[in-house]
Subunit: 201 residues, 2 copies
Amino acid sequence: MARIRRSEKTREALLEQGINLLSEHGYHGTGLKLILDTVKVPKGSFYNYFPSKEHFVSEILDTYAANLLLQFDEYLTTTQDDPLLIVQKVYGSMISVFEAEGCLKGCLLGNMAAEIGAHSELCRVSMQKTLAAWKKRIVVVFENAQSQGIFRDDVSAEALADVFWCTWEGGILRMKIDGDTKVLRHSLDCVLTTLFAKDKV
Amino acid sequence: MARIRRSEKTREALLEQGINLLSEHGYHGTGLKLILDTVKVPKGSFYNYFPSKEHFVSEILDTYAANLLLQFDEYLTTTQDDPLLIVQKVYGSMISVFEAEGCLKGCLLGNMAAEIGAHSELCRVSMQKTLAAWKKRIVVVFENAQSQGIFRDDVSAEALADVFWCTWEGGILRMKIDGDTKVLRHSLDCVLTTLFAKDKV
């Protein structure tokens, strides 16, 4: 029993460190040895936990997404904020985290999409599931913004959600090129408060 | 003299193959050996051409950008199309190239930004120069669209250009996750023809 608990703890620690290291160094840039050393797991025993690096990364993507979506859900069920403010707070706080990390990491999903999206079917399926789960939530928030007259309604909430995701992920790439979050912040703000805004006529 | 010409030709071939392979496999995923084998250059002689892999990739980024900007400039000086059509044709044709390549490659600049943007100062400078050169051109096109009443003018052409770039690069990440260009095409179209459009009131 104690052995099972220890094994589960190690597995969780590997996933947690995996999120950290992959976010910064990418798929090919993060050797398994580095992750195993950080968690103090002997190299040979990695395959007791995961069948391959690809399976490991696919599970990291699932864990990363589950954590973020859980935070999002908790916030959604307790907040009294209007839909625009919800999106501004959630994404503003993620940008603050990026800044605190020196603009080095960004979004694990976007990083993995750029590097291995086209090549790992297993990871691609994880990313598609994550995107679908995220979109289900954000579309509801955007629909609320439309019905409250905050967002324009000549474009579907789904199409706005796609543009929003693209702007967000592209903005993170700009952050990595510029070394700061200026364009990411401005572009997100421009999209949410001007381009998506319901005309005040 | 013949020796110099041969050497220059090899250098160009290395850069060209570098663009191809890095676009698909990324920085860490593309071993120098693979590029050298493809161009049939002995491994030991790589450093006669470039001081390091990082320098090589920085020069690849410069070459890639110079080629694209040259094509863009040639098109701009000869076309009679209105500004919106110019952007639609240029980016539409890039999407067609992505499709022909099986949605595997995408934009080298975006790929490198995701993978090594935060870590290679040398490549980051190349990317910043490329972005600045691209933005100088696209802002003129967007300003023309504004003065012709096609694009809204309550947001600066520069801010619209930033949102456009982010949507484009984020859309390419979606292409890699989805394995098709549907969201990339729709989001770009939504931005250009609806969100950026001058209100017809």
